[in-house]
Amino acid sequence: MPTNMENKEQKGINMQLNKLTAIDYLEMVKNRKISVEQVILSLFHQIDKVDKILKAYLKVNRDKALLEAKKIDKKLKNNEEISPLAGLPIAIKDIICTEGMETTCGSKILRGFIPPYDATVIKKIKEAGGIIIGKTNMDEFAMGSSNENSAFQVTLNPWDITRVPGGSSGGSAAAVAADEALVALGTDTGGSVRLPASFCGIIGIKPTYGRISRYGVISYASSLDQVGILSKRVKDAALLMKIISGYDALDSTSADIAVPDFLASCQDGIEDLKIGVPQEFFQSGLDIEVKERVLEAIDKISKLGSQIERTSLPNIEYALPAYYLIAMAEASSNLARYDGVQYGLRIEDNGTLEDMYTKTRSTGLGAEVIRRIMLGTYALSSGYYDDYYLKAQKVRTVIKQDFDHIFQKFDLLLCPTSPIPAFKVGERISDPLTMYLTDAYTLPVNLAGLPALSMNCGFTKKDNLPIGLQIIGRYFEEDKILRVAYNLERQLAEINRTKPNLSFSDSLKDGSS
């Protein structure tokens, strides 16, 4: 029976509702235990409390989100049929086009750009009854591993506000980790969902290349880009995966392959799985505490019945240069469209059309974006193409073959998501090459187009920072990845209970308990 949720007393802000998982949210909303509006208000309250410091959001969709919530609450009250997501509030990385809502991609060149259409993933979320609660901060054009390359603000890590949340989907990761969002969408070109998920202690999944439509997602490196999900729990990611996956005629790289019931696949055991541990991910450069926690997690998976063996990806050291060359080359081409003519920033100086292009781009694009466009242009230019771009594409084939080879034997691979836990703000930003090395363990997956997930598997003793375990699967076998992740998650009760200490917000009213 519907409860008296319209009752004025209950419309007040419930301090705990922002902490719900997506699965629990659906259960409680569908059973009329809570209203959508209560949850949205609770999230806004949390955003007001912590986001002045964390800066995860670029924009909060206050009025429209509340309006949508009230509409769904009315349907619930009238016992009308409820859509699958039942008003689930979702934060969206500002790289994904949202109709009528500014989409900047973290860049000054797109400030004020209001897309006239929704990306396919947004359309699917809206059709399923999800509510967009805001647009999250990111490295400009998704180029970065720390969120320090945003043209607007630096998002901080909820576990330690002197550290970065990871990038480029750092705003989405910080928002979910700090209970400012129940779930979020990000994008992952070389680790941009998994790395921030690892640094912020949450789940981040990058599905197989082609699994989720990129129509309406601003392009960085088209042969690598994929939409991903950031969530508090494995099943939340499985739920969203089911909603946003599937063939889309508007994306020519979209795969016409059946979408399984990812939630149902979480339920099974993992005794039938053969899992490889590539030794190259456990060598020099790996933080000792990261190594220990990841090996402990692998041991737990072994105890759950999976067969675990060491394996090798012999050419993995070549993945990083190949990845950056390909990404930069594609970026230099994709970003040529920002010329000031049709939308976004335009700088005119009484000069020619050519002058307008140059002034607009030089003013509107940040240092890292310019660096990557320059390198990409160089790698594609006459005389250097064979040495750099063509060579990188050949190495990409070698990396893919290495994965194909060991995936003949194994269902899944396990390794750390990042060689290090979250680093300090300012620590790596002045040295681009050191920043690039942060993605060493995630980007091979994008080169091969494989699916992978990062989940929290413990904390460093020294600084209490989350550590990510990466689970890599075969093409279109996200179901197995989610199954192992869910089985492991159930063994990690204490880790799951551990939340970041947001006491930096205590000076403000209603300090968190």
Binding site: T253, P321, Y357, T358, L390, K394, K400, L447
Partner: protein, 99 residues
């Protein structure tokens, strides 16, 4: 290993190709950073790829493109698209003189 060292002149040339205007400071900084990064990328030369096909002629996960029937469908209305800029006239985008 012979490394291509990018000179300041080359940095200026590449910037021109990419329609970017760099300050003197940026030119100096980028010359150094681009050299560091390109020397690191030169590591790829260690790997023998003589017999290897480049990866770009097929999607990495499925080998065919998806084509659809060539049937015209409605697209965004002209006024909706022109609303994205102040620089327009008579249904066209307006730009500065070309030469």
């Amino acid at each position: 290993m012979t490394e291509k060292i990018i000179t300041k002149t080359e940095v200026e040339y590449v910037a021109k190709l990419a329609k970017l205007e760099l300050s003197e400071e940026q030119k100096e900084l980028f010359s150094k950073q681009l050299n560091d990064i390109l020397s690191f990328f030169a590591k790829l030369k260690e790997l023998d790829t003589e017999q290897i096909e480049p990866a770009f002629h097929s999607h990495i996960t499925h080998s065919t493109n998806h084509f659809h029937e060539d049937i015209p469908k409605p697209s965004l209305a002209q006024e909706v698209v022109l609303n994205l800029t102040e620089h327009k006239q008579d249904g066209y985008f307006q730009v500065p003189k070309i030469l």
